[in-house]
């Protein structure tokens, strides 16, 4: 292969159009040809012109959150398999439903929560098709929640990190976190209570309900005892994505 032959192929490579049959010969030529490697780089740089000429399209806000959640998880040494199921779930969140960026701690918490949900559900990845995440309402700025829904089972799991621990007096809790399903008209339905894991870091609530019929899932801090209407402070709210 001459340098002129290689030059033609380098231009093709720069725009991603190199034919399969030309790959190895070009690679072999480049091994010993500084000039062609040099020229190839210039073609690649010129091809970037095409990238800069595209119509700008605004990506969904959730994309940034997903990327950062993964980055924070990897930075913290969380095991991140090639294609974790919760990533596929996140990908179904509609673009109009923004997931808030909550910084490193909250992102880590969300990933941990997602993993916890996976354990709780003990289901294959194809079963869960709807998930949403929310972080940092004013009343609980450190809290971050993940909602996962399994349509076939009509079961949802809310998993939360960063909630203020509930104090106990004489072994009895002084408050509780109650979960509400919020209808599209804003009216609440009592759904479950959050319960802490033994280490007190994570909270979960399982709900046998078709959450897709609701607009949101909210959590309030209530005085002890069952209550059928939220009277306490709202600490979390997750908009339910449209399937």
């Amino acid at each position: 292969m001459t340098c002129d032959d290689a030059d033609l192929l380098l231009a093709a490579y720069a725009v991603g159009a190199l034919d399969a049959d030309d790959r190895l010969p070009l690679r072999s030529h480049l091994v010993d040809c500084d000039r062609c490697r040099h020229e190839g780089t210039r073609y690649v740089q010129a091809a970037e012109f095409l990238a800069l000429g595209v119509d700008l399209v605004t990506p969904p806000p959730a994309l940034r959150s997903r990327i950062m959640a993964r980055v924070h998880a990897e930075a913290a040494g969380e095991p991140v398999p090639g294609e974790p199921w919760y990533r596929r779930l996140w990908s179904v969140v509609p673009s109009g439903r923004g997931l808030t960026v909550a910084g490193a701690g909250a992102a880590l918490a969300a990933v941990a929560a997602a993993a916890l949900v996976a354990v709780l559900l003990r289901r294959g990845p194809g079963d869960a098709t709807l998930i949403a995440r929310s972080c940092g309402l004013t009343a609980a700025p450190g809290a971050c929640a993940t909602l996962t829904y399994v349509p076939d089972a009509r079961q949802a799991v809310l998993s939360v990190d960063g909630l203020t621990p509930i104090e106990t007096v004489n072994g009895r809790p002084t408050a509780m976190y109650e979960v509400w399903l919020i209808r599209p008209d804003g009216s609440p339905t009592a759904a479950a209570f959050l319960t802490p894991t033994p280490d007190g870091k994570h909270w979960t609530a399982a709900m046998n309900a078709d959450v897709s019929q609701y607009a949101a899932v909210a959590t309030t801090r209530e005085a002890p005892g069952n209550t059928d209407y939220p009277r306490g402070t709202e600490v979390l709210r997750i908009s339910v994505p449209t399937p």
Binding site: A11, P59, A104
Partner: protein, 199 residues
């Protein structure tokens, strides 16, 4: 009650140098800053190639994660972050396209020495020097057959043989058009005072 966004504030005036510095430290904020600077461009490029928002999101996510995982291998002296990112996005978008037809991607290790001469952030300068309409003017200034050839390749993911079939011209003609188009684009950059040191 509304959701709040927390975490470190991202300055829109952050520079590639800052991003590179944070990448070298393994600081996740580097990716957030990189996204702030080029996320929209990356998504737009992926969307232009794939024509599918969900697929474009996957590609952009993979590209940013790739940058994060390979951050220690990035050398600022070898070119700009944007060039690196766009290249990754483009390759992955083509992978995605070709995955549907069983085609594979091919990577070459190109010239380090040449890139080292591009000590300035070439595309940063381009962005400043050329508005988007100027970029399009430059593309539009190419002869139609050359522009179509590189657009079929770069945005359409077609190989030269496929373009030859599509345009019903000899393969050699496609190769020549591709090279000529890129050279003219390069010339357009140099016309605007942006060139590469080719020593």
């Amino acid at each position: 009650m509304t959701e709040e966004t927390r975490g470190p504030a991202i300055s829109v005036t952050s520079t590639d140098e800052q991003v590179v510095s944070l990448l070298a430290e393994g600081n996740p904020q580097a990716i957030d800053m990189l996204y702030e600077r080029y996320g929209r461009l990356a998504y737009s490029l992926a969307f232009r190639v794939l024509g599918d928002g969900a697929a474009a999101e996957d590609v952009v996510q993979d590209a940013f994660l790739s940058v994060w995982r390979r951050s220690s291998t990035f050398e600022a002296s070898r070119g700009s972050l944007r060039t690196w990112l766009c290249s990754i996005v483009h390759h992955r978008a083509l992978d995605r396209l070709r995955g549907r037809s069983g085609r594979a991607r091919f990577d070459l290790t190109l010239d380090k020495a040449t890139a080292e001469t591009a000590v300035t952030d070439t595309w940063e300068i381009v962005a400043d020097a050329l508005e988007r309409d100027q970029i399009r003017t430059a593309l539009g200034g190419l002869p139609a057959e050359q522009r179509q050839t590189i657009e079929l390749a770069y945005y359409g993911g077609y190989s030269q043989s496929e373009i030859s079939d599509l345009m019903r011209v000899p393969l050699g003609t496609v190769k020549g058009r591709t090279r000529m188009a890129l050279r003219k684009l390069r010339g357009a950059l140099e016309t605007h005072g942006v060139g590469w040191n080719t020593t």
